[in-house]
């Protein structure tokens, strides 16, 4: 399979390209949106992109089970991150009445 074929028909390259684009979109969300929740979701997207790449490699290496185990760990970490991150957002909202990350720049002083 050549490059473009692979992308169109579910070759390894196809998955990797999807993962890369997903990662780029996630990064763009973090960098372009000011709402903390949106940035948070961007981070989740980037994490998912990594998962896609990981599991794609595993599939083309003959269905390696270790990758799935690590995927398990990754979503455990993602769950923790989600819990603490959202708690922080709520805490911030209570203190500052905002979820705009640009408005929480008081460390600058």
């Amino acid at each position: 399979m050549t490059g473009m074929d692979a992308i169109l028909h579910g070759g390894l390259q196809g998955y990797l390209v999807v993962a890369l684009l997903l990662f780029a979109i996630g990064l763009a969300a973090v960098l372009l949106r000011r709402t903390l929740l949106m940035q948070f979701m961007g981070v989740e997207l980037m994490l998912n992109a990594a998962n896609v790449a990981l599991l794609a490699f595993a599939r083309f290496r003959g269905g390696d089970l270790q990758a799935t185990v690590f995927y398990l760990f990754i979503i455990a970490v993602a769950a923790c991150e989600a819990a603490v991150g959202l708690a922080l957002i709520i805490g911030l909202y209570r203190h500052r009445d905002t979820t705009d990350s640009d408005r929480t720049a008081s460390l600058k002083q």
Binding site: L8, F23, A24, I25, L32, V69, F73, I75
Partner: protein, 164 residues
Amino acid sequence: MFLAFALITLLGAFGMLLQKNIIVAGLFMVAAFFGVAGLFVLLANPVAAALQLIVYSGAIMVLVLFVIMMLSSHEEEAAEVGHPIQRWLSVLLALALAGGGVTLVLASKGVRQLAERGAAMPPAVTLQGVGAALFEGHVLGFEVAGLMLLAAMVGAVALTKRNL
């Protein structure tokens, strides 16, 4: 099939990026997660697909939506200062990363060889296999993950509760 799921994923993500309303953005996000789960199925990994649906689309996204509901404003607040440099640099960087990555992937000989060698569909990952692999080689990691979840839970409670 692959193309359909890939498109769902990417369009969902893209929609989330552009959507002003956070709730709608969150729903786009769920779509993207569904797409990813579909990709996992195509990767002969139903276990991961199930986990993806349960944990991400189920738990995490519900959590996010709950938080969105708790906050009063669902629209993005007006910008304090414009950041044209930030904006353009970010877009440029994202495009560069995506473009660079894609070129790299397509040009890479190793990836192509790997793709050709593993083209045959392997047997689907079973929950039993994953469980065995997890408890044979990663018991300690599993325990630590549990501990970490507990710590995150305590931390989240501590952060959000007004008076402990």
